[in-house]
């Protein structure tokens, strides 16, 4: 039995603190406070008819929401200058996540739950997609780094690729004594090693028609009638192919994890800018036709 001290004492300066619990949930608390304030404002407001964006609470929540959107988008700009905000990055990210979630409540209350096929709901819908994709990002950042570490088993991507390349070399040598057809299969597995590729292929982490898998399947099929005298070469090729297939699976899984961690940004970032445009059009439209 290990003592509690041994397991729980943090290593000074080495403790990894998730952005989610940064500064003891300081920004989570701030976001909750903002949400509660928004709900109070919404409930205090008693416009004639149902609540809507044009009441005093509507304007208040709308202003807060618009400022939040500007600030949240500015985070993307700050993040580009990593060197200058390195110290504050975790704090900024924590605030980005929690205030982004709070924005969902603020903006929803701003709508007064009225939606239509117009620029106003367009801005809201874009905001919802941006927040949803961001939420997926939080999930991905919480889940996949650990999976990637486990999957890599201490190797870097370049190490894995180098091993695959040298396995190819070894395979070519090992397959020298094999008959034509088998050698061709092994050579194809070596020459056409597809790693990465299209978005779908990277995300899936699998490759239909992998030549290495095909070579292993071929060896399985031919196992019974392998040419006499080539057993040793056969076995050696088999071992090398197995190892390569294992490495390839790892590499592809690694690429897949990384792709999933990146893919949400392809929604998050462009839609955030489209949201800014829609927000601008929304505000102009409201006061243009006051």
């Amino acid at each position: 039995m290990r003592s509690a001290d041994a397991t729980e004492a943090p290593l000074p300066g080495h403790r990894h603190e998730s952005f989610l619990i940064h500064s003891q949930f300081r920004y989570a608390k701030a976001a909750v406070l903002l949400v509660v304030a928004a709900i109070v404002v919404y409930l205090l407001d008693q416009p004639y008819g149902t609540g809507y964006g044009g009441s005093w609470a509507g304007y208040t929540l709308g202003t807060v929401g618009a400022l939040l959107i500007l600030w949240l988008t500015w985070f993307g700009y700050q993040k580009r200058n990593y060197a200058t905000i390195r110290e504050r990055l975790a704090a900024l990210l924590s605030a980005h996540v929690y205030l982004g979630l709070a924005l969902l409540v603020v903006a929803t209350l701003h709508t007064g739950f009225h939606f239509g096929w117009n620029v106003h709901t367009l801005a809201y819908a874009l905001m919802c997609i941006v927040i949803a994709s961001g939420l997926f990002g939080v999930y991905a950042y919480a889940r996949f780094p650990r999976l990637m570490t486990d999957n890599r088993a201490g190797m870097t991507m370049q190490q894995m690729l180098g091993r695959i390349a040298s396995l190819g070399d070894e395979l070519r040598l090992a397959a020298l004594p094999l008959d034509e057809a088998t050698a061709a299969v092994v050579e194809r597995a070596t020459a056409t090693t597809v790693i990465g590729g299209s978005v779908r292929r990277q995300l899936s982490g699998r490759l239909a028609g992998c030549t290495t898998e095909a070579a292993l399947a071929y060896l399985d099929r031919r196992d019974a009638d392998k040419p006499p005298g080539s057993e040793e070469a056969w076995l050696r090729v088999r071992v090398l192919l197995d190892e390569k297939a294992l490495l390839l699976a790892r590499v592809r899984r690694d690429i897949s994890f990384k792709a999933i961690m990146d893919v949400w940004l392809y929604l998050h970032v462009p839609l955030a800018f489209m949201l800014l445009a829609a927000l601008f059009a929304h505000i102009i439209s409201v006061f243009f036709l006051w």
């Binding site: 690729l161 695959i164 190819g168 050579e187 790693i195 590729g197 409201v286 036709l289 006051w290």
Partner: protein
């Protein structure tokens, strides 16, 4: 690494197999890939494995080769040099694609990372931003500024490019009454970046009634009412029924304390309904001759009496068994109270429509030979003239035959009438005058049988003053003809009102499921003139507050309108800033 050796053979085979004259140890080479042999004075190379060879870049199954040619077998390049003396051929073999490059090749053939596979985030963002600004900002601004929006659409499809673009900015559903011009934002939004002005509303609603009497002294309340913009209360784009605010607090904000803030108006404080609403105050007639109206709480004790100038009793008409003139059919409310076409209220009561059927102004008597003589209704001078004319005509005919006894003496059934013949004798004019005066006094303006049955007179205590009316003779009725102002008024004015709550409206058509007498206790209406308007508790049997759970939800505007046409226009368009 470089080495040279000599080969003596009929042919030279290339391949990865060790039995070849030139073994090429690479997996990419066939076991036996090609053979080189002399043929017809030259040298020929022939691919003997499954793969072709490439001679000077051209794929070939067999080809003659000469010094200077280059042959590719897998990753190996075989160059033919001019043969030294005594040799058929000289070959230089070089591995041009060594296996050591495999990592580089693997790296360069791999596409790792979405940034190398997906389209640029920046391009998508720019395209999206520009698209949104063009469609959702530029297009509506251009459409609004160009004046291309149709004033309103007469038929045709609602879905045109123009209406679709206009709808992009629509913040909510237009009210139902304004939807017909929904295709043109500029109908109300007359200029950009300014709030909708009252003038836009008044363009159509110029006669909308004021809320207050323009002559009332309201003090600060006046400024508050006059300072309101139309859109303060009437917000558009709030749904199909949203243009009229129905919440009571819009009214109560002022009316809660109106007794204090505008004491001159006589308006009671209201803090809600049913709790907080004062007893109904009916406007009844205090004096029809004035005319003088009076506003009185309907539950005042003693019970308020409406004095429309007529001796009418609902209870006397609603007797069980009915009346002979109606075939003994019991009367019902609808016999007299005829619905207005819309059904909200009832048509005004008139003698001709409601009374004449039973209360005919017959001047003849059944036992006289000139039936159907009648006096007119509503024309006092005309009545006197009609009687005078009657006797004048009789005088020309030589007199009349009348019952000898007075009218109050009843004949026994079956007994013959005792008839006395009366003639004008020597002075027909005096005879006619005397007969007219007697008839007017005893029959027409009689307190019990004649006009007095229903009407009051203009004389003291409601008596009939005939002095003016009798001046018509001996000159005859012509003396006053054509001068209505001088015509004598014997009957006191009548003022029958159709509504008792000028500041509230009650829609009878929406209450048809309720029996009349459930609210109006007409059968018990004593004394004459007793007010039949029910008190507030009659309403609250069914009606509750605006948030009532077990009653009909009722707000101020369920009964009261804000704009009252009888106060004149709410806003004068001339007085507004343009």
């Amino acid at each position: 690494m470089r080495r040279s050796w000599n080969i003596s053979s009929r042919r030279i085979r290339f391949g990865r197999g060790t039995g070849n004259e030139v073994p090429l140890s690479d997996i990419r080479v066939d076991l036996t890939a090609a053979a080189l042999f002399p043929l017809g004075g030259g040298i020929t190379i022939e691919a003997v494995g499954p793969s072709p060879v490439r001679v000077n870049g051209n794929s070939a199954k067999a080809a003659a080769v000469h010094p200077g040619d280059e042959v590719l077998i897998g990753p190996y390049q075989i160059r033919l040099d001019p043969p030294p003396p005594g040799f058929d051929a000289s070959l230089t073999i070089e591995l041009v694609q060594p296996l050591g490059d495999s990592l580089n090749r693997l790296n360069s053939s791999s596409r790792i990372g979405l940034d190398r596979a997906a389209i640029s985030k920046r391009k998508v963002a720019w395209a999206g931003v520009l698209l949104i600004l063009a469609v959702f900002l530029l297009a509506p601004v251009v459409l609004y500024s160009s004046g291309a929006m149709p004033v309103w659409r007469k038929g045709g499809s609602d879905l045109t490019p123009i209406t679709l673009v206009a709808a992009l900015w629509k913040p909510g559903e237009l009210s139902n009454s304004h939807r017909f011009f929904a295709s043109n934002c500029a109908t109300c939004h007359t200029s950009p970046f300014t709030r909708v002005a009252d003038t836009a509303c008044l363009a159509c609603h110029q006669n909308i009634g004021a809320h207050t009497d323009p002559n009332a002294h309201l003090g600060a309340v006046r400024q508050m009412v006059d300072g309101r913009r139309c859109t303060d209360c009437h917000e558009e784009h709030r749904g199909t029924n949203g243009i009229v605010v129905s919440e009571s607090r819009l009214c109560l904000d002022c009316h809660r304390t109106l007794t204090e803030t505008a004491p001159g108006t006589g308006v009671s404080n209201v803090s809600g309904f049913p709790t907080g609403h004062p007893q109904f105050r009916a406007t009844i007639v205090a004096d029809a001759a004035g005319p003088h109206l009076q506003r009185v709480a309907v539950d005042t004790q003693p019970a308020p009496i409406d004095r429309p100038g007529i001796k009418f009793s609902h209870a006397a008409h609603l007797v069980a068994g009915g009346f002979p003139a109606l075939g003994y059919k019991p009367m019902v409310c609808a016999d007299c109270h005829v619905k207005e076409p819309a059904g909200q209220g009832f048509a005004p009561i008139t003698y001709k429509q409601q009374c004449a059927g039973c209360h005919a102004l017959d001047f003849d008597r059944a036992d006289l030979p000139w039936p159907n003589a009648r006096v007119p209704h509503g024309d006092d001078a005309g009545v006197a003239a009609a009687v005078w004319n009657f006797y004048a005509a009789k005088a020309l005919q030589g007199g009349i035959a009348e019952p000898a006894s007075s009218e109050v003496t009843r004949r026994l059934p079956g007994a013959p009438a005792r008839i006395a013949v009366e003639t004008p004798e020597g002075n027909p004019q005096a005879w006619v005058a005397a007969k007219t005066e007697a008839a007017l006094r005893t029959i027409v303006f009689d307190e019990k049988r004649g006009c007095g049955y229903c009407h009051f007179g203009t004389g003291p205590g409601g008596t009939f003053d005939l002095s003016e009316a009798l001046k018509i003779h001996p000159g005859g009725p012509a003396a006053t003809a054509g001068d209505a102002a001088k015509a004598p008024h014997i009957i006191a004015p009548v003022l029958l009102r159709t509504r008792f709550f000028p500041f509230a409206s009650f829609d009878h058509s929406r209450h048809t499921a309720v029996d009349c007498e459930h609210c109006h206790a007409a059968r018990q209406a004593e004394p004459v003139g007793a007010l039949l308007i029910p008190p507030i508790k009659t309403c609250t049997e069914c009606h509750g507050s605006e948030r009532a759970e077990m009653r009909a939800q009722s707000t101020c505007i369920s009964c009261h309108g804000f704009h009252r046409d009888f106060f004149g226009p709410m806003r004068s368009a001339d007085a507004l800033p343009q």
